[in-house]
Symmetry: C2
Subunit: 340 residues, 2 copies
DNA sequence: GTGAAAGCGCTAACAG
DNA sequence: CTGTTAGCGCTTTCAC
């Protein structure tokens, strides 16, 4: 049971260590007879290869790391990351990779984590969630030679593989929907504009208004951090401008914004409409239910893992960019059912 | 930069490999002079030890795994696990441990994950979130010889170290609070009673009623899964019994229950009061704000890691049991401010 | 198709 | 205090 080695199995099966190794690794050059015998011994003994030894000898660990930078503060506030992590974990399992998790909370964490993930050969590759412009961890990881895939477009994407949705287009759909419904004073709560998501969704908002011949009124634009409270406070700042509809750059901010509106005795969607972004489970579990732009977060995880494994096995060049689609999900807060 | 070995450093510093190893591992028997010289070479070359080699030679990987069983379905639905994971990750960093994440989603995952975590020597120990009675993963992990700490009390705790809160006492506090406020028909939405949390919080509910001379009315008790929808549906079943207060065994269920009550045109807390359990961030970001029992989830993570490292370094015997405190957080949904 | 042998990079006695 | 010497358990040429 405990601590069997290749040698032990070899002895019991009456073959050499190499042969057992070949069997374990599914190499072709083993006769069916021998293979069967070895497999039986392995089965009956419950042997499992020692991963550290295998890693040392093969220079492949079959482990990848997921790094969540410090500037991604919302790990347990927003279901986005848990959801992404699930997708990643699932795909790792399917490919027999083990997932290492690195949540960077402080400068101190940063120093401890970086060497462990970028050198030392323990990880074959790294997944990094995009964060704010200038995040140390991201920059330093990108500079290292380890295969790397970012989830979310970085500001400076040269030479970096990443997966993302078209945030401009997604935001465009949201705002255009509000325009079609006849709202006149459409405001937006942008995410942090130190992130590409924040910038892109704001641009989508602008683009929709402009293309429909509206003017962008800066008093209707407020920046918030990507949290419930961020949305709440941004909405409070927005209220004096009397918007009749809001596009919030994330569902969780939309939830906060709605709370602010409700506290100001506004009815939703009669007095003010909302569209969010993400389609988190809560969006469909609120009262009223949130109209939003769905992005396939779980699939991000799948795609990120696939891409990373591709990089590991086939080299980092050329750079891979995967773009995934978004979808407008119409529910109650946009007022579509009453307006049209 | 790339692929330096101990040998390289030794050569450059003019010492033996062992000496460099001693310096790297902070062994005492090295003269200050030599230590300094070696450290300089390490610094200037950017050398980092190869972890696989170290693991193989020392039989210690400095890695622990976190296993989330299949029966814990709410990984991205409830902030509990993300929060716990954060605490664990933080403590791992501080102790220079690397965290491996295993989310068991399907039977298939189970088969792939178990050998990777229980044998193969890759992990020095495992943290397991408690799940339902009879969960395969938990049982099989417990049977293996790997050091293991459960987060949450298992049904059969013999020989198993775990950390938990006193759920009976916590639920007691919640229900007693409602009793003190004068509510007469106090119902409860229990969690899944295939879990110890579910069982214990129900027992706390019963105990509070009984100790205050009330009778437990089974029509006021409904079981739900630990999700928003679970709470929503349980509440719908509870409504005909006309409760005037509800203790929900988790905040997320309370949120669902409140939605059901609101859809039935009940005002909160005037028509019906609510107390939850957990104190998730949302509890304080809802309108009205949720009265709840706070449990120190982040600290669970800390404590679990500490305990596991203790087990790894000092042996699994005797079994460790850590109990942490809960706290009643009074907000709006219990109606305390209006009643008293 | 199979075996022998040389490492992978490090730790840990054991000498000295 | 420092160096020498075995391994740790596996992969991977290279012969046969």
């Amino acid at each position: 049971m405990a601590d069997l080695t290749l040698e032990d199995i070899a002895k019991q099966a009456g073959v050499s260590r190499s042969t057992v190794s070949r069997v374990v690794n599914n190499h072709p050059n083993v006769s069916d007879k021998v293979r069967k015998r070895v497999l039986e011994v392995i089965e009956s003994t419950g042997y499992h290869p020692n991963i550290a030894a295998r890693t040392l000898a093969s220079q492949r660990s079959m482990m990848i790391g997921l790094v969540v930078p410090r500037s991604v503060s919302s790990f347990f506030t927003d279901p986005y990351l848990p959801h992404l992590t699930q997708g990643i974990a699932k795909r790792c399992n399917q490919h027999n990779y083990t997932l290492g998790l690195f949540l960077v909370g402080t400068k101190e964490d940063e120093e401890k984590i970086l060497p462990r993930v970028s050198r030392s050969g323990l990880f074959d590759g790294v997944l990094v969630q995009a964060g704010h412009r200038g995040d140390q961890v991201i920059d330093r990881l990108v500079q290292s030679t380890i295969p790397l895939v970012m989830v979310g477009r970085p500001f400076n994407p040269e030479g970096i593989s990443y997966i993302d949705v078209d945030n401009i287009e997604g935001a465009f759909k949201a705002v255009d929907h509000l325009i079609q419904l006849g709202y006149q004073r459409i405001g937006t709560i942008t995410g942090i504009t130190k992130s590409t998501v924040g910038v892109d969704r704001l641009e989508g908002y602008r683009k929709a208004l402009t293309e429909r011949g509206r003017v962008v009124d800066d008093t209707l634009v407020e920046e918030g951090v990507f949290t419930e409270e961020g949305g709440y406070h941004a909405m409070q700042r927005l209220l004096p401008a009397k918007p009749d509809a809001i596009f919030a750059a994330s569902d969780i901010m939309a939830v906060g914004a709605i709370r602010a509106a409700q506290e100001a005795d506004l009815r939703i969607p009669d007095d003010i409409a909302f569209v969010g972004f993400d389609d988190i489970p809560l969006a469909n579990h609120r009262y009223p239910k949130l109209t939003t732009i769905r992005q396939p977060v779980y699939q991000f995880g799948f795609s990120a893992v696939e891409t990373l494994i591709d990089l590991i096995e086939n080299g980092k060049e050329p750079t891979r960019h995967v773009m995934m689609g978004t979808e407008l999900i119409i529910r109650d807060t946009c007022g579509a059912s009453r307006r049209k």
